[in-house]
């Protein structure tokens, strides 16, 4: 008994230490990004930095304005959400409520496999297969567009959104379902009016984490979107994302140069966005538990 207590106590302490370590790590990462990036304020004022649209770090008269990149990232990410979430949630509903056991056992691993595909492979597919296809379908010179990236990211977020939504749907108490069916509602009416609405907070968490996954994705957008630093006017325009910019340019900048600072500031901004999304997701989870 005493021995068990001791072990429990040690485990408790250990989890505390681990929890605190991760908080410290998060703060340190943020500080690192921010301090490395803060140098940019000597070259670009905050209003231009975040709200200007000229990203020309290598021109005669360099400008480091991030809005184009932020818009580019949001564009592909929201596109991915619009395409991916209905698919993922549809899958989750089908798997949790309708599919027979055997089909579930086939589909579930298939979805997990998507999560395991290296992103460079998906990027390669976007570059070689999907882009030419899009250029043909829409009659545009290059298929390397926001749409191309968004479609690939949609595929990539499906496992995250599907898994979390499915968990949320499965944890809806069976009693709700039985009550609705016993009143003469059909299976479909029950899903639509009782089960999905009860699982909405959980599905919301899935969508937010999918958003975080998509906005942080680098390789696929770098390969798929054409990387033109222009504010897009539609999904058939190429875009340049924050992640793609950092990945493409970080290798070539001199440490301590304004360009270097600017890339770190982009990293810092990305960090804040993902952190914010995770905070909201956590808040939703907490509210659900109450």
């Amino acid at each position: 008994m005493a021995k068990q207590d001791l072990a429990g106590n040690a485990m408790g302490k250990l989890t505390h230490i681990v929890a605190y370590t991760s908080i410290v790590a998060i703060v340190l990462i943020f500080l690192f990004l921010f301090l490395e990036g803060a140098g940019i304020f000597r070259f670009e004022d905050p209003v231009h930095l975040f709200l200007g649209t000229e990203w020309q770090p290598t021109s005669e008269n360099p400008r480091y304005e991030m809005l184009t990149l932020i818009v580019g990232s949001l564009f592909v990410t929201l596109g991915a959400i619009v395409v991916g979430v209905p698919l993922a949630v549809g899958c989750a509903i089908y798997l949790s409520e309708i599919a027979p056991q055997w089909l579930e056992e086939v589909l579930k691993p298939a979805i997990e496999i998507i999560a395991g595909i290296p992103s460079v492979v998906i990027g390669f597919f976007a570059l070689v297969v999907l882009a030419p296809l899009l250029s043909q379908i829409f009659g545009i010179p290059s298929g390397l567009t926001a749409l191309n990236g968004a479609l690939m990211l949609a595929v990539m977020i499906i496992p995250t959104v599907e898994t979390i939504s499915e968990d949320a749907l499965r944890s809806v108490p069976k009693g709700y379902r039985h009550a609705s069916l016993a009143m003469g509602a059909t299976e479909w009416e029950t899903i639509k009016n009782v089960i999905v609405p009860s699982a909405i907070p959980g599905i919301g968490v899935g969508v937010l984490l999918g958003f975080g996954r998509a906005i942080g994705e680098t390789m696929v957008v770098l390969m798929a979107t054409g990387n033109a630093a222009l504010i897009p006017t539609g999904f058939l325009d190429p875009v340049r994302t924050m992640t793609g910019t950092v990945a493409a340019e970080m290798g070539e900048v001199a440490r301590g140069s304004p360009h270097y600072f600017a890339l770190f500031m982009i990293g810092c901004t990305l960090f804040i966005i993902s952190f914010g999304v995770n905070l909201v997701a956590n808040h939703l989870i907490k509210r659900e538990e109450r």
Partner: protein
């Protein structure tokens, strides 16, 4: 025994979960506008039988039923029977209160709404009538938009009764409706049952023998998947014909 019209007539109902037979050849006639209680030790098949009446066993993939069960002229187990229609006629209240995480109003209006009623003033009237019949109206009338989850357990169970009444069923099945409630809430629901039978046919499963005696006109005693004895509650309690019934009622097993 047939002194009033029969509402439900079960002829040779047997039920299996996979290979395991749980009900054996149950034949019973349940009378209109009466409360009938099903009693017996845990695991004897009361819930399984209750779920035969509204075909809720369909929800369990491994479950198989044979035999005939008639609701008035409707052959419940027939392939052609519309389950949606059947369940509109046979409402159910579950062991643990299971209101939807919606407002009180939405809970009660759910059934009629799902069946196509979307006239607001008609729904208002249905909600009012149902809550009234479930003896809950006075307690909640000032705040129908409050979440049902914020009601007490006893209130939640009466809300579930109101929700079932809202579709105007003919029969109400209750599976241990008071098992999660305190004595005061239980008393309220028992009072309610006396009123409900004026309009509905009520079948209740209960583990509380005194409750069966208090609320029901007829009592059916199940043991190991068989219907051992069925009759007027007063007769079953005063002069049980079977040894097993007597032992159960006097608390010597179960």
């Amino acid at each position: 025994m047939a002194e009033r019209p029969i509402k439900i007539s079960s002829k040779g109902i047997s039920l299996w979960y996979g290979e395991k037979q749980v009900l054996f050849d149950i034949s019973i006639e349940i009378f209109v506008n009466r409360v009938t209680s099903l009693i017996g030790p845990s695991g004897c098949g009361k819930t399984s039988f209750l779920r035969c009446i509204n075909r809720m066993n369909d929800v369990i993939p491994a479950c198989r039923v044979s035999g005939q069960l008639m609701l008035d002229g409707l052959d419940v187990n027939s392939q052609n029977t519309d389950v949606v229609d059947l369940r509109k006629r046979v409402g159910m209240v579950f062991q643990t209160p299971n209101p939807f995480p919606k407002s009180i109003y939405e809970n009660v209006a759910y059934g009629p709404w799902v069946h196509g009623e979307n006239n607001r003033s008609k729904l208002d009237a249905i909600v009012r009538r149902s809550l009234d019949e479930a003896a809950l109206w006075d307690e909640v009338k000032d705040d129908l938009s409050k979440s049902a989850m914020k009601l007490s357990g006893g209130q939640q169970q009466r809300l579930c009764i109101a929700r079932a009444l809202a579709v105007e069923p003919e029969v109400i099945l209750m599976d241990e409706p008071c098992s999660a409630l305190d004595p005061i809430a239980t008393a309220k629901i028992e009072d309610l049952m006396h009123k409900l039978k004026e309009k509905y046919t009520v079948v209740i499963v209960t583990h509380n023998i005194q409750q069966a005696a208090r609320v029901s006109n007829y009592t059916a005693y199940f043991y190991l998947g068989k219907l051992i004895e069925y009759g007027k509650t007063s007769e079953i309690f005063e002069r049980p014909r079977e040894k097993s019934t007597e032992m159960y009622l006097t608390g010597r097993f179960g």
